[in-house]
Symmetry: C2
Subunit: 733 residues, 2 copies
């Protein structure tokens, strides 16, 4: 088997000078994403896809199928002749073969040029079909098993059907159709949902006309221009969402006859395999009562409420239904009602009266279908990847081995037993073959830069290695992050920390320490991946004489519902208590100078940073807070009210962590940095904090990236981390 060595560098078409072994110091250009030479530190990578059950390596120049018996590679596609053939046919430019796909059950490849989708017959070696891409549109969503597509232009939805475009919605400004709604909460990230057979298109339609505009300003035009952005703030009037179903053949559209969409969330749209039903998990504005509702996709009529769940704090549905491929009446519902996200099998053919019953995580549920819990334990299912229909197994990933990683598993739906697949001590990302018999298993750990294996899902087949990437960082004398656990402020819960010390670490010295913090829900900083998830900046700072420390406090993700929701109505408070346990630990090591402790974080981490600087102003000398939340009343409805309720119903909670009220407590050096056009933590957070500091006579520092949104990307990120580093160098070192 020839060595696979397609490195990211060549993929990015950049010239990569060989890195001299003697080179010892790395700059932010290497260590920061967006840096000119950041690619030089990335482990090798191989692009792959499945052709039925055959793995295919897709490179720039060629695609090669791998023989699962002996590992031999056979080139099946070569760029140059294909490129010429396609060009001669006037079907655009094919620039690489990395994203080639295959038509299910046929010896045909699907190639994307800049203008067409081209179907190439691998046997006949000719082009059998071609479909022009609809250009200049947004959110283009191809039909499954076909070549039509739905997309948006402006704020309306369109469909290209049999080569003809028609407009589906015709709504005025203030409405959005075919786009993600509810500010991407509840796992929502798109607004177009083709039915499984491709005959119908469900779509979101959102009326935002009643939502207040946040006045964003574009300062790059000849004279600055207003860019109004609908932003519903906690407690304020929110948008209304409708779910439409369009039949492209008849060009008819109906809307689901849901309850009043005022203050109601319509999440996790799922189709029944026969396309006759559509399922929505609906949630009240208070987000403490979820209902799984079945609708008739032809009439829009409600058929039944299938499942309900309540919780005194919040219920957060994030996953659509997954139907069993071999039984259209059964689907898997995911909920963390027992404390961790687990799988429940529900049977449409077995409706029942049900009774409200207590769930172990503090909520209640009402099962209107016969329901079987499939997985359980103090770990959570992260992803359903697919099925093996022949063995009646579900293939997914979970945190069963460790909350710091995802491991593949196969769950037998006949007997309820499950087994782990692949190398245990690593974090896996997998892709399943058509039959479900094999996975391409891409995994990393603190010790594994990147391995890609082909693994049999039955746990018995021989594992074939496609790539064992070396870690380009190994050639440098770089700091090695370490991890461990300490007890949370509750005295019981184990929290993971990561510490990165200078490579020439001397335990008898006293080092300045920087705590990098996030601390909010839906994120985890410490993972069993390269450097335990430490960023290039952690490495850089440690390389420059700092101890860099991160702690995943209670409230962060992958540790279950109770770990997360202890922060309810008081975001920041418990999180900071845990962070102070981290500070205690740092001080106890003896090698951290207690007079030189700094803190840095972005977004929720910016909120934590600012809050820590104000609350523990004798501990933290220097902080850099990026895109911070300053006052939860200025944050949006969906995320904000889930964790904080409304300013009206939780005045103490909002007041307690409204940092403008504590601007006078600033003692150390605090620099706040924001994207001047941040649509997530709108600039008003920081502007009101600066005003409060000015009024209180305190002196924060401030910087802003004009044109940037919530995060700085590309070259701006290198500029940003140069800036952040300088601040610690100026004031902490």
């Amino acid at each position: 088997m020839k060595k696979l060595s397609i490195i990211l560098g060549t993929i990015c078409m950049m010239a990569l000078p060989a890195m001299a072994q003697e080179k010892k110091t790395l700059t932010l250009e290497e260590l920061i994403l967006g840096g000119n030479r950041n690619f030089s530190l990335q482990p090798e990578y191989v692009f792959t896809t499945w052709w039925g059950d055959k793995p295919v390596i897709t490179d720039v120049e060629s695609a090669s199928v791998i023989n699962l018996k002996n590992g031999e590679q056979t080139t099946i596609l070569t760029l140059e002749p294909l490129k010429k053939l396609i060009k001669d046919e006037g079907l655009g430019n094919l620039s690489h073969l990395m994203s080639v796909e295959f038509v299910k059950g046929q010896n045909k490849a699907i190639l994307q040029t800049n203008t067409h989708t081209v179907i190439y017959d691998l046997d006949k070696k000719n082009i059998t079909e071609s479909y022009p891409l609809v250009l200049g549109v947004q959110n283009r969503t191809p039909q499954p098993n076909g070549y039509n597509s739905a997309y948006t232009k402006g704020n309306n939805l369109y469909v290209m059907w049999d080569g003809k475009e028609h407009q589906v919605t015709n709504d005025p400004e203030g409405w959005l159709c075919g786009q993600s709604v509810h500010r991407n909460e509840f796992g929502i990230n798109n607004g177009i949902f083709w039915s499984p057979k491709g005959n119908l298109v469900a779509f979101y339609r959102m009326d935002q006309s009643m939502v207040t505009d946040y006045p964003q300003v574009n300062t790059s035009t000849r004279i600055s221009t207003l860019v109004p952005d609908k932003y519903p703030m906690a407690g304020m009037t929110s948008h209304k969402v409708y779910v439409g179903i369009h039949n492209p053949a008849t060009q008819k559209t109906i809307y689901l006859k849901t309850a009043d969409p005022t203050d109601r969330y319509f999440t996790n749209i799922s189709w029944s395999p026969d396309e006759k039903n559509i399922f929505i998990i609906e949630l009240n504005r208070d987000q403490n009562h979820a209902e799984l509702i079945q609708y008739n996709s032809e009439t829009g009529e409600k058929i039944a409420t299938l499942y309900e769940e309540t919780h005194p704090k919040y219920v957060e549905p994030e996953y659509p239904l997954t139907f069993l491929p071999w039984d259209d009446s059964k689907f898997i519902y995911q909920t963390q009602r027992e404390g961790y996200n687990h799988l429940f099998l529900m049977d449409l053919n077995q409706p029942q009266q049900g009774i409200w019953k207590d769930c172990s995580a503090g909520g209640k549920c009402l099962e209107k279908l016969k329901t079987t819990q499939l997985t359980k334990g103090n770990w959570l299912v992260k992803e359903i990847v697919g099925f093996n229909s022949s063995t009646k197994e579900l293939i997914g990933t979970s945190t069963e081995v460790s909350p710091l990683q995802s491991n593949p598993f196969a769950l037998n739906l006949t007997n309820g037993k499950h087994r782990l697949i692949g190398f245990l001590n690593a974090n896996h990302s997998i892709s399943l073959s058509e039959s479900g018999k094999y996975i391409i298993d891409n995994y990393t750990s603190a010790n594994i830069a990147r391995n890609i294996d082909i693994v049999s899902t039955n746990g018995k087949g021989k594992t074939m290695n496609l790539l064992t990437a070396s870690n380009p960082m190994d050639q440098y004398n770089l700091p090695k992050p370490e991890i461990g656990t300490i007890k949370a402020a509750d005295g019981v819960t184990d929290l993971y920390y990561r510490i990165t010390k200078p490579s020439d670490f001397d335990p008898n010295k006293k080092y300045p320490a920087v705590i990098y913090v996030y601390g909010g829900p839906h994120a985890q900083m410490i993972t069993n991946t390269r450097n335990y998830g430490a960023s290039g900046w952690d490495i850089y700072m440690a390389n420059h004489g700092y101890v860099v420390f991160t702690l995943d406090n209670r409230g962060s993700s992958n540790r279950g519902l109770l770990f997360e929701n202890c922060t309810f109505r008081n975001l920041g408070t418990e999180e900071m208590k845990d962070q102070m346990k981290g500070v205690e630990f740092l001080k106890s090591t003896g090698f951290v100078d207690p007079d030189r402790i700094g803190v840095h974080g972005w977004s929720f981490g910016g909120f934590m940073t600012t809050n820590l600087m104000l609350t523990y102003n004798d501990i933290f000398k220097v902080g850099v807070a990026g895109g911070p939340v300053i006052n939860w009343a200025l944050y949006e409805v969906m995320y904000g009210e889930r964790y904080m309720d409304t300013p009206e119903s939780n005045p103490e909670g909002y007041k307690g962590n409204n940092l403008t009220l504590r601007a006078g407590d600033l003692k150390g050096k605090l620099q706040i940095i924001i994207g001047a056009n941040d649509p997530v933590c709108v600039p008003q957070h920081t502007m009101s904090f600066l005003r409060a500091c000015i009024d209180a006579g305190t002196q924060p520092d401030f910087f802003t990236y004009p044109g940037d949104e919530h995060n700085m990307r590309g070259r701006d990120r290198v500029h940003l981390y140069t800036r952040i580093t300088q601040y610690f160098e100026d004031y902490l070192k």
Copy 2:
């Protein structure tokens, strides 16, 4: 004569603790305007007014007339009984007597309460008349010799006439009536002009509907709100101005039949004494051709063009006509056509054909009336204060003694001779008695904290001293600013500088130096006033070990037209050359450390600071630029095009000092500070500079004051100077 000792402290109603003599260091709270204790450093002050030819001292509690023969004071009004009388009559609250005035030719005082104008008979000791104030309106302008008023509500003009309000204009949003136009250039600072006898009201009416909005944002509302501000940028479409004349008695309004108001400025509205004519100095958009035009105030018809003036660079009319009180046919026109602002007498009764003739400052003029130049010389008239009709003398102030100060003079209009009045070596501010025989002369110099004298304008009468204020700074061991001159970069022109050294100055030491710079037109930093015009911050910095230096470069004011207009079409270039002469001088002293030179300035001075940091980046180590112009294309039409023409007609000039193009040249530490709602140098200047620096990989620092406009006032100013000081302390010291 009893000692006059009304100090500003008691006027401000603040408690003033006696300042201990031993106190040596002063904080920014004392030294910065807006500081809690700034009043403690202000010299004493006396409020005065004229009652015909009798001077009156107006205090909080009483008003006393001064006998000009012997200086004796007689109390003529006492607050408490008046306050009671007025309250009993239900005419509001009289809180002090500082702003009392007197009815011309009568023994009556005019008192302002919070709700009424009250006329009090000094003989009968009773209230004879009262007029309710129109409350909740803007730009209230009282009728001369009467108690009616004109004012604005929203964007329209209203008149209160004989106790009844009527609306004069009814224009939609985008129009402004009765308010200042042309962004307060050309000496314009109001929009309501009562005729001399009070029978008619002339007013500005401006159509801004075609002007682009600058999107200012108010971040203090529950959700930030847009505050659009009409801002015509250089080269872009500007507003149109109309001049209306309203007759309150008939409630009829006519508009002057001027030339097309597109790209035309209507400046310096003046009435004829008989109210039959109105005069406008009109200017083309290029601002190089001024025309004095006479209109019929009843019909609005143009009567005649009386005077024209052109200049290859610009003509800048800033003063309305001044009619002689004893001859309604003669008025004084002010122009710097001969290089300095001087007085020209024009006679309406002597029209003439005239011919275009060259003026000594490089322009041309056409006199259509017989014209007599009244003053001449390399100095300028600053103000016409009034007349003495009996001697046919004009009383004014000029820079004849020194460009650093104003001195009163009397000009005999019969024989053309003039003489200076009062103490020569000081800067004067005067108020003329009714007959013109006396002035109340308030003067200061580097050595005089504040004197107030009563001086006879005939130059012969005995001078009576009302106040010789001590300088509260004298009790501290404070740095003493010094001044001198150096040659400009042209090798010829003398430029004034001011240097402030630490009070414990040692010429053998090397000090860090901060250059405080303005440098733009219409301002002069060095004056013969207390501390030669040095700010409290100059003193503070010198007190903390810095040498503080300021140079009034070519382009600044009070030195004549050619001194000013050498910067035409290249704002910044000549100015910086001169500033570098200042740096050369500083280095030549031997006591300035050439490696620790900083610079600070605001507005035009912020532009200069940023420009110097980029252009002479090996010289300047640290800069703080406030509210800077970064790119003249983003500045407004009137000021911008006067000095720079348009971006289309002067691309090289605009490019040459567009600092975004040189963002990559930043080497030192530069902090830019702006008011987040600056309507003068809009935030786009700094935002585009920050973007350019980010793109170029340079690292300016930035701070903004939310809610503040072009300058920080009150407490914010103390915060600002604390911040600026800290920056120099961190990086320059």
